[in-house]
Every structure is written in structure tokens, then in C-alpha cells.
């Protein structure tokens, strides 16, 4: 904590800041020298509460709250470091949520990581919603099977969530777990599989339907409280994070700010509550020939020349997610490519969407099977 931080840099309300400046305080070092809240209140003509707030922000050690995170006001200032070894232990014991597509799980490092944000970006129809629904079920796999045994929050911004399809996938999961339990002849597994009925799986998915970008921002604002009330939740899916932010934005700067704030809140949520945050993103078409810039000019150029599909929401959004995966088609097969991750190497994987849900690619084609 830099002792010479200027008061203007603290998140104080303007009238409090003004009073401090009138009283002659310029930096936090000067505030640190104050004996206590009462003295500050007298000197700067603040109320006792305001003075205490200022001191908590500016000179935390003088208020008796040592290191780490603060309970009270303002931005938390963590004065104690966490050793890399502790972080390693935390990472190794971190649980993962599997997708049921073995190659994809391997690329992600045994599955989707809790405590981090993973973004899946892809063209329409490639399986983003399918993946979201599959993860919402897989998070509930009992610990007896090596699963996380948690619940899911599904924030639907587009209306693609199909209840019957979720039921179909739930039935398949129940059948799969029963099969595995029977194969292993394990009583614990059998018991856990029997307890996980389709209704139980459905009850474990908390569904939010948001209809515009304000409701989306509000839902993210509410998540900490919701998660506190439902501590079993280990997964938050936002499908898609993009849709409402692609229109009605005359002011792109405002959009970037709101997206950045939403990203910060989700990151904090993922870390503090150790949940996996999975965001689905769309793609957008960048026009122009190779090397040329975007935006169609006055000329009626054929709009499809060398059009490239890029993840939507712009370059600044690229920093929001910890891991970024692009889902795409290649020769009639679905592929996933992990192209940004601080821990895993960039790699591709094939996956399929079948009647049971998201699964690994079969030899000989990944076409979705038709209903009988």
C-alpha cells in the first residue's frame, strides 16, 4: 500500500473528498498520521462514520484490521501475499467439471476449471447451448463418481434453452451413471446413481431468463447474494453473454465499460466462491480483404470477400476470460480449439453432439444421430 497515494484516487464521495481537501489533507500518508476517527472528524468536519470510512480506505492498519481482505468499505487492499506454493496446492486440488467429450476435457485440463472464467465462442448451431446444458447437468455428478456434486445457475439471454432437450440429456446421464455403477459393482456408486433421478437433476439447475442488457447486468449484480443463499451452486453459465450487447449501443465506450465491469464481477465471483463461470459468446463478421480494416465504405463491395469470423464483443473483451475456446466446423465435424489459457497449451479437440448430449467424437463421423 503506497503511503503517498493521493486522496483523489480513493473512491470517496465528492463531498467527503472536498472536506478533506479543504482541511488540508493531500495524501494518505497524512491521513495515516491521524490519531483516530474522532480527531479526523473534528478536523475535517466529517461525521464519525465518514471519518471511519476514510481511515479504513486510506490507512487500514491504523484501524486495526490487519492484512488480507477488509470487511468494510471500499476496494479491498490485500497486504498479505499468498505464496506460489499455496496457489499450487489450491490449483491441484481444484475440482473440474467434465463435458463428457474426452478430447475436449483433456484439452481443458481434465475439464472446466472452477474458480475461473471459461469462454466458449462459436458460430450459430455449433453447440454452445448444448454444451451449456451438458455442463449444467455434469456439475451435479456425485462425488462417488469423481464429480463436483454441485448445482448450476443458467442465465439464458437468448431463449435457446430447451427444457425437453435438457430432460433428454438428463435421462441419458442417469442411464450412463447407472451403467458405470453396475460395471464397477461399487455400492457407493450405485447408491449415488440411484439417488440422482431426472427430477433431481432438473431441480439442480436454477434458470434465469433475462430479456435485455440491463437485466443481464442486474442478474450479474445479484449473483453473489444468490450464491450465498444457494451454496451448492458450483457453476454459472451465461448463454450468451453477447446477444444483448450487440444492439442498441450508440455509445461503444459505455458498452466497453459495462462489459469490463461485468467481467470484473464475474471474475470476483469465480474466485471468491470457487465456482466455474462459463460464458458463451457469438461470432461476428469482420469485413474487408486480408490486411485491410473493417467497416464497409461507400462503395458497394461484395460483402463476403475474405470475411472473417471473429469472437464478438471486441478486443477489450478478450481479456475477460481466463480460458477461451473457439468452437467451429471442420469438414463436417465439430471441433474445439483452446486458444487462450494461462495453464494449458493451445490445442484442438473434436467433439460431437448426440441424442444423449455432448459426447466425444466417434470413429467414422460426428453427425448427430437422428431420433429413432
Amino acid at each position: 500500500m503506497d503511503p503517498r497515494l493521493d486522496i483523489a484516487g480513493l473512491p470517496l464521495s465528492p463531498s467527503v473528498r472536498h472536506k478533506l481537501q479543504c482541511a488540508g489533507f493531500r495524501t494518505t500518508a497524512e491521513l495515516a498520521g491521524v490519531a483516530g476517527p474522532v480527531e479526523l472528524a473534528t478536523e475535517a468536519q466529517l461525521t464519525h462514520e465518514e471519518a471511519l470510512l476514510v481511515l479504513k480506505l486510506a490507512a487500514p492498519h491504523s484501524v486495526g484490521q490487519a492484512g488480507g481482505r477488509q470487511a468494510g468499505g471500499g476496494a479491498p487492499t490485500s497486504t498479505a501475499a499468498v505464496s506460489a506454493r499455496q496457489i499450487l496446492e489450491r490449483e491441484e486440488s481444484a475440482t473440474r467439471i467434465i463435458t463428457f467429450a474426452e478430447e475436449l476435457d483433456a484439452v481443458l485440463g481434465r475439464g472446466v476449471e472452477t474458480g475461473a472464467i471459461t469462454e466458449f465462442c462459436g458460430v450459430p448451431g455449433v453447440g454452445k447451448t448444448q454444451l451449456g446444458m451438458q455442463l449444467a447437468l455434469d456439475v451435479q455428478i456425485p462425488r462417488a463418481f469423481g464429480g463436483v456434486e454441485g448445482q448450476a445457475v443458467y442465465i439464458d439471454t437468448e431463449g435457446s434453452f430447451m427444457l425437453e432437450r435438457l430432460c433428454q440429456m438428463a435421462d441419458a446421464l442417469v442411464a450412463h451413471l447407472a451403467r458405470v455403477a453396475a460395471l464397477k459393482g461399487d455400492a457407493a456408486k450405485a447408491g449415488a446413481a440411484a439417488a440422482l433421478t431426472r427430477d433431481a437433476l432438473l431441480a439442480g439447475v436454477h434458470y434465469f431468463r433475462v430479456r435485455d442488457h440491463i437485466e443481464q447486468l442486474a442478474a450479474v449484480e445479484l449473483l453473489p447474494n444468490f450464491l450465498a443463499a444457494h451454496p451448492a451452486v458450483r457453476l454459472v453459465v451465461v448463454d450468451s453473454v453477447t446477444f444483448h450487447f450487440r444492439q442498441e449501443y450508440a455509445d461503444m465506450a459505455a458498452r466497453t465499460r459495462q462489459l469490463a465491469q461485468m467481467a470484473q464481477q464475474l471474475m470476483a465471483l469465480a474466485g471468491e466462491r470457487d465456482v466455474a463461470v462459463v460464458l458463451m459468446n457469438q461470432v461476428t463478421t469482420k469485413l474487408g480483404d486480408r490486411g485491410g480494416a473493417a467497416s464497409a465504405g461507400g462503395e458497394a463491395a461484395p460483402s463476403d470477400v475474405a470475411a472473417r469470423l471473429m469472437p464478438a464483443l471486441g478486443d477489450s473483451w478478450a481479456h475477460a476470460a481466463t480460458h477461451r475456446v473457439i468452437l467451429h466446423w471442420q469438414e463436417g465435424r465439430r471441433r474445439a480449439f483452446l486458444y487462450k489459457s494461462p495453464t494449458q497449451p493451445a490445442r484442438g479437440a473434436e467433439y460431437a453432439v448426440t441424442r444423449e448430449g455432448v459426447r466425444g467424437a466417434r470413429r467414422g463421423g460426428s453427425k448427430r444421430s437422428r431420433p429413432a
Partner: protein, 357 residues
């Protein structure tokens, strides 16, 4: 909802007054600003502002439900509009999903409007007891009352035994003719009273492409996409708020392949943003001498195609005809090929079937 007024959210009076004084009237005004902006604007401490935001958020976010509760609630209000084409309904888990946008795209003359008319009849029929009706937004002047009457009579002779029954059906289909993209958007924004008053059970937009392509020159693509985005958002909102299916038709365009101006292929118009916006995409195309309806994008159904033909009674599936394998190639929905082997021509048989002469 973004436009909810803060004044009526039951906030403490001094706070409400302070918000009003700073010109923060709706929820959007509040959430459009960052936290620090609000601290400056409201002259309140950081944590207080956070608490206000959480309070307002709790009031505007719709209550979450578990998937199980949704399933139980579905018994009361149907989740699908049956299309009366059983194999298609089976694939789609019952028909057009309520609360989402279904798009029908294809070359001219393959039957998109016919399908719209057929589904309009079905929507009125399904909710006949409670008085279901349909809002039909016709941008190309293709709506034909006579054709709809013919479909009703020939497809459901028991339900429409007399002319009065057909006339009653006609009375429940409300047709609008927006003449510009802006007019279409305005209509969409003012449809709520109509939907409630007339107990509308289906919203049809035929087509989404014509006005967009007419009003926006090729050079103003971003503007066009922004308008389409607003229309799509509004359509989804109506679908969701009233739990009804929304049916939209789209045209085709030529997608030039990479590396060479020759060898383009037909694909759906309106670009990537629109392809993302629709929840389900049904493609009407012709190949190997037959017409096929193909499920190209659906959160519920796998890729499947069914042969059909257009008769006096609307669309009829031909279960004995197998779709050619290239139709079922999974691939990108955005630039997926739409087959049009037989360009549209009004042949004598079709004219007779339509009974329009």
C-alpha cells in the same frame, strides 16, 4: 426491464429524491453507469451505492426458477405449436417452440408463405376455445386470405365445416403491412396491447429480409445489422414475455466462396448476427427433384430433413422420399449451402392446387 422507473421501486424517499434530482429515472440510467460514476454523481459512499444497485437489481431481474419448476409449469401452458407435420413435430419435440424465434429460410417460391399461412390456421385452431389469434406482419404483400381459407377448409374439414367457421378464422388473423424497417420496429414496439387484447398465440413476420435489404444500401451494413439486432431483440422479448412462438421468414443470398468469384452458393441472407439471433432455423430447399424442409439449427433437434410438397391443403410431407446425403452434411449454419436445383416456376399442377385461377 431496462425502462422500469426507479421512483416506484420502494426506495427510501430521500434516496428516490436524490436519484430523481440527478436525472436517474429508469433502471437503465442507473446500470448504464459504472460504480465510480455513480459514487461521483450521487455523492454517496461506495458501499451504499453498491447496496442500492443490488436493491434495484433484485427488483428488475425476473425470479429464477429451477428447471423442474419450469417443467411442472409447462403443463399449464403448452411449450410447442404443433405444425401438423408429424415427423417434423417429433424431431422438434412437439413443434415450434414457444418463447423462441423460429426462422424459415429458402429460395423464392418454395413455400415459406404457405407454411406461414398453415401455421396461422393451426394457431387459431389450437386455442379456439380460449380464442387464439395471430398477428401477421406482411412486408411483401404476400398474405392471401383466400389461400388461408382454402388451407383451412382442405386441411381441417371437420373444424371448418361452414363458411361461418372460416369467416370466424379470418377475423382472428390480424395483418399489418409495415412499409419500412423503422415502421416494422415501431409496430413491434407497440404490439403488446394487441397481443393481450386479442390473446395472440402466434406472431408471424413474413419476411424479415425484404425491408432490411430494401432500406439499407450494401454500403451501410453496420446500420442494417443494428436495425436487425433491435428487431430481433424485440421479437425475442415478445416471444418470451407472452410465451408464444414467433415465426420469421428469410430470403437467400449468394455467398461467394473464398478465392475466386465463380462458384458461389446460396445461403441464408441477413448475415451472422441474424443467424445467431434466431433460435431455430428451418431451411426449405429443392434437390434431386424434390423439396425438403431441413432442420439446420435447433437447440432441441438434430439435423434432419423431410421431403414435402405444396398442395391445396398447404405443406404435406412425403415420408417415402429419403433426403440425399449431401443435405444432411453437418456444417456451419451461417454459410451453409441451400440447395435450389429447380428454380421456381409456376407449373400448371401447382396453379390448379392453389385453386387461384
Amino acid at each position: 426491464m431496462a425502462t422500469r422507473q426507479l421512483a416506484r421501486m420502494g426506495l427510501p424517499p430521500e434516496l428516490a429524491a436524490r436519484l430523481a434530482a440527478r436525472n436517474l429515472v429508469t433502471a437503465r440510467d442507473l446500470f448504464a453507469r459504472t460504480l465510480l460514476d455513480l459514487v461521483e454523481l450521487l455523492d454517496l459512499p461506495y458501499e451504499t451505492v453498491r447496496a442500492i444497485l443490488r436493491d434495484v437489481a433484485a427488483r428488475i431481474v425476473p425470479q429464477p426458477q429451477s428447471a423442474l419448476e419450469l417443467l411442472r409449469a409447462a403443463a399449464a401452458q403448452p411449450l410447442h405449436l404443433c405444425t401438423s407435420l408429424p415427423p417434423l413435430d417429433d424431431a422438434l419435440f412437439g413443434g415450434l417452440p414457444a418463447g423462441s424465434v423460429t426462422e424459415v429460410v429458402g429460395p423464392a417460391g418454395l413455400g415459406k408463405t404457405q407454411l406461414c399461412l398453415q401455421l396461422s390456421v393451426l394457431a387459431c385452431l389450437e386455442r379456439q376455445a380460449s380464442g387464439g389469434s395471430v398477428v401477421y406482419l406482411d412486408t411483401e404483400k404476400k398474405f392471401s386470405s383466400r389461400r388461408m381459407a382454402q388451407i383451412a377448409r382442405e386441411r381441417f374439414p371437420d373444424a371448418f365445416p361452414s363458411e361461418e367457421a372460416v369467416a370466424a378464422l379470418m377475423g382472428r388473423v390480424l395483418v399489418y403491412n409495415p412499409t419500412s424497417s423503422q415502421a416494422l420496429l415501431s409496430t413491434l414496439q407497440s404490439l403488446e396491447p394487441t397481443i393481450i387484447d386479442h390473446r395472440v398465440r402466434l406472431l408471424v413476420l413474413d419476411s424479415a429480409a425484404s425491408l432490411a435489404r430494401a432500406d439499407f444500401a450494401p454500403g451501410s451494413l453496420p446500420d442494417r445489422q443494428r436495425m436487425l439486432g433491435q428487431q430481433a431483440g424485440r421479437l425475442k422479448y415478445l416471444a418470451e414475455a407472452f410465451r408464444i412462438p414467433v415465426l420469421v421468414t428469410n430470403q437467400v443470398t449468394t455467398h461467394l466462396g473464398e478465392g475466386g468469384s465463380s462458384g458461389g452458393h446460396l445461403t441464408a441472407a441477413l448475415g451472422t448476427l441474424w443467424a445467431h439471433a434466431v433460435n431455430t432455423r428451418l431451411v426449405l430447399e429443392s434437390a434431386a427433384g424434390n423439396r425438403f424442409v431441413r432442420i439446420a439449427k435447433s437447440p432441441a433437434a438434430p439435423n434432419a430433413a423431410f421431403a414435402y410438397r405444396v398442395t391445396g391443403a398447404g405443406l404435406e410431407l412425403l415420408p417415402e422420399v429419403e433426403p440425399p446425403p449431401q443435405l444432411l452434411q453437418p456444417g456451419s449454419v451461417v454459410h451453409g449451402t441451400i440447395a435450389n436445383d429447380v428454380p421456381y416456376e409456376q407449373d400448371a399442377a401447382a396453379a390448379v392446387a392453389f385453386n387461384l385461377l
